[in-house]
Amino acid sequence: MTLEITTARPESALLDLPWSTPLEEWPETYLAALPRGISRHVVRFVKLGPRVLAVKEIKDDIADREYAMLRNLRRLDVPSVEPFGVVHGRATADGEPLDACLITRHLQFSLPYRALYSQNLRPHTAVRLMDALALLLVRLHLEGFWWGDVSLSNTLFRRDAGAFAAYLVDAETGELHTRLSDGQREHDLDIARINIAGELMDLAAGGFLEEQADPFEVSASIIERYHTLWGTLTGTERFESGDRWRVEERIRRLNELGFDVDELSITTDIGGTEIVITPKVVDAGHHSRRLLRLTGLDVGENQARRLLNDLDAYAAATDRQGEDEEIVAHDWLARIYEPVTRAVPRELTGRLEPAEIFHEVLEHRWYMSERAGHDTPIEDALRDYVATVLPAKPEEKAVLGVDTEEMPVISRFD
């Protein structure tokens, strides 16, 4: 049998991996010890030059399908792991055929929920995870993607200015349609509810779940969060023609939620007394796109919101609100943002993403100011944060000090 590697980024080092060995038996020298969620297939993280890849051993046709699906999702710009390649034609030295491998890039700074739960947690973590997952599900559904296996294990979380951003990691069961029926959306929600309840009950059985979180309530809450969000994003509103400000108001509300309105249908009745509006095309990433345009920074939606607020505050404080936005943004980047993120000692840069550190420094300044009863300069807040807060945080870029035994990978068939 001949080894066949399909990848968008040909990389000769891929050929050096021990493809003729079952993934479960790969020598440790190749592996990166990273935590992962519960899964039926064998999944391992592999070091390849400067990057870390996730390798999943899976049936040949499903590997191709999942690879293609992940590529579609990237094209649609929904948050998901990045497909890297598929390896077919594997066989052991004795000629026994082995399953294919699906390769994705390890999502930097992402946390599987079980790793999150083995750290010291802020309260309401479970609830914040539900918020992130509900948003992800809405975004997937807006694009016509039916997931079919919604769960915490099939999601990765990134810190996003105190909240979390969710990324899809397992597209094995997914289907892409032009439009989803209500039944299909409800189906995904019910899958989510049962899976999440099971996952949280398992955490509780292991003594990891925060005490105030009830697996039943938390898992059921995703449904309500989802419906509220879906309603705001797609619902039809009617009002008197005198209340035209409500069109602007709707768009502002969607922007605040992080969505741009690319198409809005506005109709009036024959007499022109009533106006009916329905958002037709909404596009997530309102804040992150704006920040990217102004500063070139590519960060999470909440982080972007936070940074933009700070930019506005900077413009106000320096009395430059009337000036060209891009020039002010350029100065803010050079004078405020970069000095803060650059001040982090090298050995601590793997703890958190730069934008998250910036967010935490702002938070820290707020606490310090409150305690002191007056404004604290950001330089002081930064110094104190780097000295006292950051060193106590775990490394989240790649290697976490978590016992991966707690997250065993369950292969489907031995």
Binding site: V150, H187, D190, M201, A205, S411, F413
Partner: protein, 394 residues
Amino acid sequence: MPAHPGGHHLYNGSSGTFLPVKEGNEAMATVTFDNATRQYPGNPVPSVDKLNIEIADGEFLVLVGPSGCGKSTSLRMLAGLEEVNGGRILIGDRDVTNLSPKDRDVAMVFQNYALYPHMTVADNMGFALKIAGVDKAEIRKRVEEAAKILDLTPYLDRKPKALSGGQRQRVAMGRAIVRSPQVFLMDEPLSNLDAKLRVQTRTQIASLQRRLGVTTVYVTHDQVEAMTMGDRVAVLKDGILQQCDSPRRMYDHPANVFVAGFIGSPAMNLMEVPVTDGGVDLHGHTVPVAREDLTGVGKNVTLGVRPEDLELSSDQSGIPVTVDVVEELGADAYIYGSTEQKLLEATGENAGAVPFIARVDGRRPPEKGDKIFLKPKSGHVHVFNAESGLRVGD
């Protein structure tokens, strides 16, 4: 939660749709497709066109057909995942056409299951009942019953880590079973298993279904799987039901040329032959067919003979076949060869060499390159209208 005589409603995790939790005896879980139609927007023709099937309580019905024929769409219409554009779908006497998936009491099973490492096998099987608010004693009872059926009783208090792969798979099945759905739906559940495990799991599912007696609709593109598992098999082509019968009846009385060629492995030999007095003419040999069946069929019909319904003729009459490959299987041997399609009076055309398969006595099989003559065993031919493809006579 919506009221239903079945009691609570439950959802069966990553494995699929909605499961009811039964309390005591249920109403009859028959399933009726009544002219059910699904046309996707933008498609010129329906993907499922006026489907009519009545599935009995406890029956194992298999939907089979080539890729794209509408099997999955039919199943998803029943699950409530696809809109029904015309006709109705009933479960028992309930019209579920416009019900949301979770109000239908159907369960899509055996798809994706991950087991939770900190929970015992019993908890892994019963947790969804807990979510539905079923009381502890009742959960334990059902879990124990399911464990017994699945040979898992000794492992109930262990963690999944201590189980073998096959046992883990059975725990996953147990999750669906404890919730006693009214109808099980399975869409190619074996498609990601390797060949060996596939055959093994196939038998397991079929015998489990019989013991549980839960009405089941099963989708596969593999006719062998369909014929070995189903009480009845429904063959679909281009969104249209071709035939729905027991495997035996389907095999012995295919309703049309498509079913005749699709069901059975190796496939039935099909050839166009002229109609004569008292039957049809097969290379000078008259195969008797009742006169009344042949009225109005035209000059030619399509004749079908299964490979095992042929015998070697000693007198050089019958179908002349040139042997290409002989596959010896002990008592039997399969001959793969070709025959010259005879000049047909109607068209005057020669169809040339067409493939032909026959099963012969394995003790004295012909050899590669031999020219042999085969005759259908009497009463074992299938006659189809050459134009409509429909079966002629019984």
